[in-house]
Amino acid sequence: MDFALLVASTVCYAVACGVALVGLRHQVRPPTWARIGTMALGFGFLCGFLYLRGQAHGRCPLTTGFEVLIFVSWAIGLLYFVVGPGFRLSLLGFFAAPLIVLFQGVGLFLYAPAEPILGPNGKPLPPDYWVEMHAALSLVAYGAFALAFVAGVMFLLQDRHLRSGNRGQLFYQLPPVHYLHQAIERLLWLGFILFSTGILAAFMMERLPEAHKLAAIGFVWLIYGLIILHKLIRGSGARRLASAAVFAFLFPVLSFWFL
């Protein structure tokens, strides 16, 4: 059942991509139900998937790399619904959906049925809530960084249109650069705060994560910390911030190898 929900969710997000693409090609704005409805349906199916996995594990469904990927997709979807309307960022879904499809597509290949986590005595292991808090906060932070990456790409495209005077279809569909800049800045802050809290939660765990995991987490934290520090102290420009948000997302993606 959970596999079917994951497939359904991935299909919905893929349809959302397709709808936006067709709209762009034919220079028409797809209806709201097609743009937002498909994204919402995909998000709903994913909530169902995570619920079933959580029930099966008896804890937050973050026990394997596969589940981590899916959780990040869920976080991107969640933040899209929070950030998109708030900043009137039309087309954010169009750019975010491929990333979600990519994550979930990879997830489908890595899929394994959920099983209860058993202790050495063969009984289900009670969850460590600090572990769950650490993992959940860190991955929602990854979702925020992913969306900052998406908004960064949109910013760089629109910035280029404005400088060159190229008023193609995308120019009219993409949001104003000022809104994108604000969204990037706030998403980076949100991600950084959540990530920092997640790291603090790691130090409360019964057993600290392995050294290589800590190093990977620490490196990602340092990269985003530097970006925010630079923005605070030097007041870096919008284009530089957008480029940084795009480039920095490479590190959370690479860190998956260590988690």
Binding site: H161, L162, R167, H181, R240
Partner: protein
């Protein structure tokens, strides 16, 4: 019974002719009643704007279309003392051509600025006047209501309104794609030229409020500031406003660059990534081209704006066929609807020699 349209527009009549035949709102009800009292005219709507004057009318079943048009022409000639040259500017349309013309007018396809939307409101107003004056009936009601439907569809389902077509409008379009909401934007005018005043007014029309005017002649700055509801400052003080303003419109007669990267750089850090949009309307240019390389700074000079305006016009012209296809579908739909709704009249008309108002060709 036939639909006819008798009128002129900016393409057929000079300003001198157009200003002769203008109906003020106060005189419109009386004029409408006069038109309807003409022999052979049953219903009428008068559309009178600065670029066109058109009388849409429905002739009586016993009246020949040519006779009705002749009577309308005669009435106009007498009312406005028109000469032969003035009358030559009038065009006459009948049957489907009338519907097609009105649909095109309401959609902005017949306007001086292709795709402009102001005409839609003017057609609505003209129709409302005629309704109040009691000079519309079943046929013109149906025709005008359909025209509003067409106008809306053309606006929303095609890209005829997309792409600004004047320097001021391009400036506004770019500003909206940079800032989004212009209501929070502050504008600085360097130089008090006419074109910068017009561009500032275009931005004001989209909500921009605070305008600062700086000019070498302080008196001129004060005059312009008063005219547009802004604040005047001396010419040596404009660079102190750089941290606050969002849009700078420059149009001085200076032979050298007034705004350089060095002028802007100190303020950029304090702006913390907030964009700055510079519009250079002077020749030689006031803004050094290297300014474009600065972070969060967007520059457009007169050439770039004019090119974009031309591109906007071409973009709109490219949409014309799509729009006319839509208009034609509605003309067919209108005639099909009326044919269904007026079937008894059609039969009687045929017997009595009358012509159906809509279905005949």
């Amino acid at each position: 019974m036939e639909l006819i349209c008798y009128g002129y527009n900016h393409e057929t009549a000079s300003v001198a002719s157009r200003e002769k035949v203008a109906f003020t709102e106060a005189r419109l009800p009386e004029a409408l009643r006069e038109v309807c009292s003409l022999d052979g005219v049953e219903e009428a709507v008068i559309l009178s704007t600065c670029n066109r004057m058109e009388i849409y009318a429905l002739t009586e079943s016993s009246t020949n279309v040519s006779v009705a048009k002749e009577r309308l022409g005669h009435w106009l000639q007498q009312r406005f003392a028109l000469n032969a040259e003035d009358l030559a500017a009038f065009y006459q349309k009948e049957r489907e051509d009338t519907a097609r013309h009105l649909f095109a007018v309401a959609s902005g396809l017949n306007s001086m600025v292709l795709g402009e939307t102001e005409i839609f409101g003017q057609v609505k107003k003209a129709y409302a006047f005629a309704q109040r004056a009691g000079t519309t009936g079943k046929v013109l009601n149906r025709l005008f209501q359909r025209s509003f439907q067409v106008g809306k569809q053309v606006r929303t389902q095609t890209h005829i309104t997309r792409g600004a077509t004047s320097v001021g409008a391009v400036g506004v379009e770019m500003a909206e794609k940079i800032f989004g909401d212009l209501r929070k934007c502050q504008i600085l005018l360097i130089g008090a030229g006419e074109i910068s005043r017009r561009t500032a007014q275009s931005l004001q029309s989209r909500g921009a409020k605070a305008i600062i005017v700086s000019n070498r002649s302080y008196d001129k700055a004060v005059d312009l500031a008063e005219g547009i509801g802004g604040r005047a400052i001396t010419f040596d003080a404009w660079d102190r406003e750089l941290t606050r303003v969002d849009i700078i419109i420059s149009s001085t007669a200076a032979p050298h660059h007034v705004v350089t990267p060095d002028t802007l750089r100190p303020s950029l850090r304090q702006r913390r990534g907030r964009p700055l949009f510079l519009i250079d309307l002077s020749v030689p240019r006031d803004i050094c081209p290297e300014v474009q390389q600065l972070e969060s700074v967007y520059v457009h000079d007169l050439d770039a704006l004019q090119q974009l305006a031309e591109a906007g016009k071409a973009q709109r012209r490219a949409q014309l066929q799509v729009c006319y296809d839509l208009v034609d579908r509605h003309v067919e739909g209108l005639y099909a609807d009326v044919a269904r709704g007026q079937a008894p009249t059609r039969t009687r008309g045929k017997d009595s020699g009358d012509i159906n108002p809509i279905t005949s060709t």
